[in-house]
Symmetry: C2
Amino acid sequence: MNSPEEVVDFIYNGHQRFLPHLSIDCVIFGYHDQQLKILLIRYHDQEHWSLPGGYVERQEGLTAAAHRILSEKTQLTNLYLQQFYTFGDSPTRLNRIEIQDNHNKVYAKANVAIDEEHWLSKRTLSVGYYALVDYHEVSVTPEFLVVDYAWVDVNAVPSLQYDHNEIIDKALLTLRSQLYQQSVGYNLLPEKFTLSEIQALYEAILGKPFDRRNFRKKMVALGVIRQLDERRKIGPHRSPYLYDFNLENASKLQEAGGVIF
Amino acid sequence: MNSPEEVVDFIYNGHQRFLPHLSIDCVIFGYHDQQLKILLIRYHDQEHWSLPGGYVERQEGLTAAAHRILSEKTQLTNLYLQQFYTFGDSPTRLNRIEIQDNHNKVYAKANVAIDEEHWLSKRTLSVGYYALVDYHEVSVTPEFLVVDYAWVDVNAVPSLQYDHNEIIDKALLTLRSQLYQQSVGYNLLPEKFTLSEIQALYEAILGKPFDRRNFRKKMVALGVIRQLDERRKIGPHRSPYLYDFNLENASKLQEAGGVIF
DNA sequence: GCAAAAGTGTTGCAGCTACACCCATGG
DNA sequence: CCATGGGTGTAGCTGCAACACTTTTGC
């Protein structure tokens, strides 16, 4: 929604296009500067930041909706996207007055107001998806109601709107637990990378350091990555080997994963 | 809904009480006769069986709704209940005609019909919860529209309505992957049990046999169970020791679980 | 005494952790 | 030649899998 007209249309006609009472919230992970970051946005006249999100069209699959919303926000398609939980317990989700109030502050920018019977004033459940994106390829779409966006370190997330902090916590837990089953890094790193790079990524995600030698052995033994016959020049140091992801093996890991015995 | 009057009231006034477009489906696992079973129900004039489910009240938390629905169906409270996925992709969920048609067959028993604008004819997303219940304590409530119910072995689930087979598959995967983190067995076994009993349960859930000695070592080492200073008489055989669950340890396992490194 | 179930211990292997020294490169 | 980062191997430990014989009990 890039213009006041589109916002007004959304307010008055959105209920025909979208399902009420249900939204999708996206935890978009990007990796930059040795840090795992999350994309946050801030709506007009709102003190707290939010997760990017959207609504599901009436005849649209849930997964399709998540992909659409994400590509609307980041201009990226074909992302790694994973549903992790559906949130419907937080008291802030049930507080009509607060919800209506917040919406009205935001929509004031387009000179519209909603009353308590409006579909956007109602209680909303939210399906959480997390995405892994290449930080450098993201170009956040400037939306009319979004006055600011920022990539924040996962360890320094401010207090967010509604239950969005809880959503991020759960997303991180899920991401961590799936790190070795899915080829998570595939979407956060360039096609070819050095061992140090992927190790730094894993350290950022899991929040702890690893031993270089053991890390290499584990990743190669699991078949997650493959060493290439190629090195990269990196200034006044020895040239490190490049690696890439072994995607065939990843799908096998995925099938076997989860069940321990 | 135990009477035609309640059904009629639900049809005509349910939209005031419940959120539209959203349901909860429950995969209720019970354990009996060395088999892991699932509770299925069959609605009036429906060929296929279904999972028990229900709707979320407008001001009710999602988890609270799941508990309410489950206790309405089984008369049990305080169950182990776990959300595992939200389903909104299956084409059968988007096929209005089929949905309306099926509903009308069912509701014909109460002599009511719904048109395509009725809230129950609309596309519905479903939040999946799985529950673990003590098979013996369940007394399935006879509902007016439910003409039959059955406990079926997880390995012999018939073809179900909509995407309910997919829901069960995902529930089983989740249950299996959480087996050693959560004290899953706690809800499927009596308070005290023999090693053979819990081993048979784990074999039923994971679908493969284990070695008695290794199984005991693992369960005790993980701190999931504790051997008691008590035996049980079991006819013409040696009296086995009893065990119970070590719930304190379970919560620790849960925190550590998931993240591998 | 016999049939059925339960109790129990050891060995080998695989995979993880901990750990330190040398090499390559550019300035 | 030096500072920085990269490459590499081994030893010990833990945890898991494989495996068989003896004990208890009621009939």
